[in-house]
Symmetry: C2
Subunit: 434 residues, 2 copies
């Protein structure tokens, strides 16, 4: 350890006497299983202050983290409603969120904060001795933040309107919308819980939790897109950040975009329950026809089995019987006209307690309604759009009306948020707005 490491360590001593880095240094010095605990090969990763670089996603930059960031294994979406009527209190929350998020992504404890209890800890300690696991925070603002309360009406982006209803929606209002949205992602669920609880502690008296949803996704060993709970590769045709069209599809950059948002994007969030029981009672051939790809290997039905998943779709191809190889209502055909960048997570909540307490019965005694139907699992669909009016909205209209896969999906929550661009050191969330 160099002397500069020592300096850094000093800087993170907190009022509660906790020092994350000194503990990490101790672990490194003792040769304890750092590599095993993090999944990193021992000795890789030159590190500042004991945290390997591969564990840190930069907080600062031209874009917010958590969008083009290689997807982490766990994601938490949280929405808050602002309860204060003070613009200053709101601005102060956004400043505190900024400095806390920045510290946590570097693997530091949360900065000290005012508390009404003398000697209370600023950081709960939940994540002490853990690496940050590529923690990112992505912040967004919901449409209602731009109402009369804070004088922001003139700054409201034209594309930031509550999404229209779609056929088949069964939205739960309490799980939808919200003034402030935080997407928190990391490769470790304990890191997520810690991050969320620290962010929430800052909201006392200023904002109130509206909803939270958490999910997971596992990158396959073969480099293809990950699979969702239907078993399907999800995001095979995702535009890639390195490609030229990515910017046009994702970043809100045109002259109509308010200056505070330019270089940002819009996040559309949908909680989609999947009908796993019905799906499992559908033949493999019918499953494949609904999608337009083979579940086994992800190859399009217009190409040979085993073809690479990224093989260009041949929507005109017909089989020996003269019928289209990709069904007219197959999901891939329906979505072909609406390219958008998706960064979804799977969720599996087991019981849906809402059905339980609404009189449902998940013990299976009520065939067709208990058991399978009460099981709440599916997709936390998230897409970052340059303009949802020409991307997510028409795509969802198509899925809801004429897509074979649509009948296995029930949207139960919905939200849209303007996601401002990234920050530089010294800047805070809400820049150009508050």
């Amino acid at each position: 350890m160099s002397s500069s490491t020592h300096d850094t360590t000093q800087a993170v001593e907190t009022a509660g006497g906790l020092s994350r880095r000194s503990l990490l240094r101790g672990a490194a010095a003792a040769g304890l299983g750092v590599a095993g605990a993090t999944g990193l090969p021992g000795g890789a990763a030159a590190a500042a202050g004991g945290v390997p670089r591969s564990e840190i996603e930069p907080f600062y930059g031209p874009r917010q983290a958590g969008i083009t960031t290689r997807q982490q294994s766990y994601g938490l979406f949280v929405a808050f409603d602002v309860t204060t009527t003070s613009r200053d209190a709101l601005a102060n929350l956004l400043r505190q969120w900024t400095s806390t998020a920045e510290a946590l992504t570097r693997g530091e404890p949360a900065p000290a904060r005012p508390t009404r209890v003398p000697g209370a800890r600023g950081d709960s300690g939940i994540a002490l001795e853990l690496f940050p696991a590529r923690l990112t925070f992505t912040f967004g603002f919901g449409p209602r933040l731009f109402d009369a309360r804070f004088g922001l009406a003139e700054h409201k982006p034209a594309a930031l309107d509550t999404l229209p209803g779609f056929p088949g929606d069964q939205l739960v209002a309490a799980h939808s919308g919200g003034d402030l949205l935080v997407q928190i992602c990391a490769d470790d669920q304990q890191i997520l819980s810690h991050a969320f609880l620290q962010m929430r502690a800052l909201t006392v008296g200023v904002a109130a939790l509206r909803w939270s949803q958490q999910g997971f996704i596992s990158p396959p060993t073969d480099g293809k897109a990950p699979r969702n709970l239907l078993g399907l590769h999800d995001g095979t045709s995702n535009p890639r950040p390195a490609k030229a069209e990515f910017g046009d599809l994702v970043w809100a950059d045109d002259a109509a975009t308010p200056s505070w948002l330019r270089g940002g994007t819009y996040l559309v969030f949908r909680k989609i329950r999947l009908a796993l029981a019905s799906w499992s009672l559908t033949s493999g051939a019918e499953q494949d026809r609904s999608v337009g790809r083979r579940l086994a290997d992800g190859s399009p039905l217009s190409a040979a089995a085993g073809a690479p998943t990224r093989t260009k779709l041949d929507l005109a191809a017909v089989g020996a019987d003269g019928r289209p190889l990709i069904d007219p209502a197959a999901h891939v055909r329906q979505m072909h006209a609406f390219p958008m960048f998706r960064r979804a997570y799977n969720y599996d909540y087991g019981f849906d307690s809402t059905r339980l307490h609404a009189g449902g019965d998940e013990h299976g005694d009520e065939p067709g309604h208990g058991g399978h139907e009460a099981y709440d699992a599916g997709l936390l669909f998230a897409t970052f759009n340059a303009d949802p009016r020409t991307q997510f909205i028409p795509a969802q209209q198509r899925i809801a009306s004429n897509d074979l896969l649509g009948k296995f999906m029930t949207p139960t929550a919905s939200g849209i948020y303007a996601v401002p661009p990234g920050l530089q050191p010294g800047q805070s969330l809400g820049r150009g707005l508050l």
Copy 2:
């Protein structure tokens, strides 16, 4: 790849045309990021059929897996009630569970099963191309399984009675008990979801899901016990499998134990909500006093700060003021007399929908009841006892009556299950019983 690998691959071709191992072999051959995807150093892990040995916990053995197995990062506890009255149907379910669990732990798809839909897939595909991530299944039987239905009353172990009520319990009946318990653990949450859904698919017409709970735990980089959501090291004084006393504390082996259970154990499961908000409004000094250890480093208050967490407690030690260094009601003092082996997970569910729909308000508009109080996070406490009548039960009586930490805990679900010993190839769950 050797020819024996080829043979194995043939054996796992399923009716749906899915072959996990051939896909894995393809990935290995292409040199795609296998190491990165699993967190394993590239080139470690000699493997059979493409699955690294370090990814597999043996299913067969004298004890069931998931007890002394090094704790995986994610755990799912699921309880079912048996709905059939046919002893044969129950025995058949246990046989199918056995063969499916065995296949999944090796990283194979679920074996083919009867289905009423021609061409339906036996395996959903959710875990294709993923490694098994040290997947384990641990099965237990609840007290009610030994009622009159299946003629098992004479086989009921004397220690297998529904737990008594304890002061402070706020048990939700629908989340407690159950005839059959499956603990599923793995280092990958997608693997858990897949495993659970495959096991559940086998229960149709035989058993119904009663409850499920899922949690996580992250091993710290310094080799100490992991931390719970209070920030406390949890399980510091856990007996270690290598020590002589472990067997006496964990395995039910005495003459009073029915033969089918001998060499097994009892699982006591408790869902414990933690009062995170109250805890965060408690000073660090008071937190430490409640536990009898320092949160920062886990050292006992009877030793110097920074002492190893496993330093022997000095319960008689007094400070300069003549008062005990470890408070008379400190958690470590109360628990000292009740050694037991714990294998707990943290849980963080965000909202408690039961409160939401019971008229609660988690938007914070109702101070003290919305917001903090509606947040459902805590501990999925699991302990494996040789005899819960002398271990968990008196310990919980102590916590509920005279433990400073107890006031931050609210048990909301409870269950006890007899966990039979392990199996050898050719044997099935329910051996010696059905």
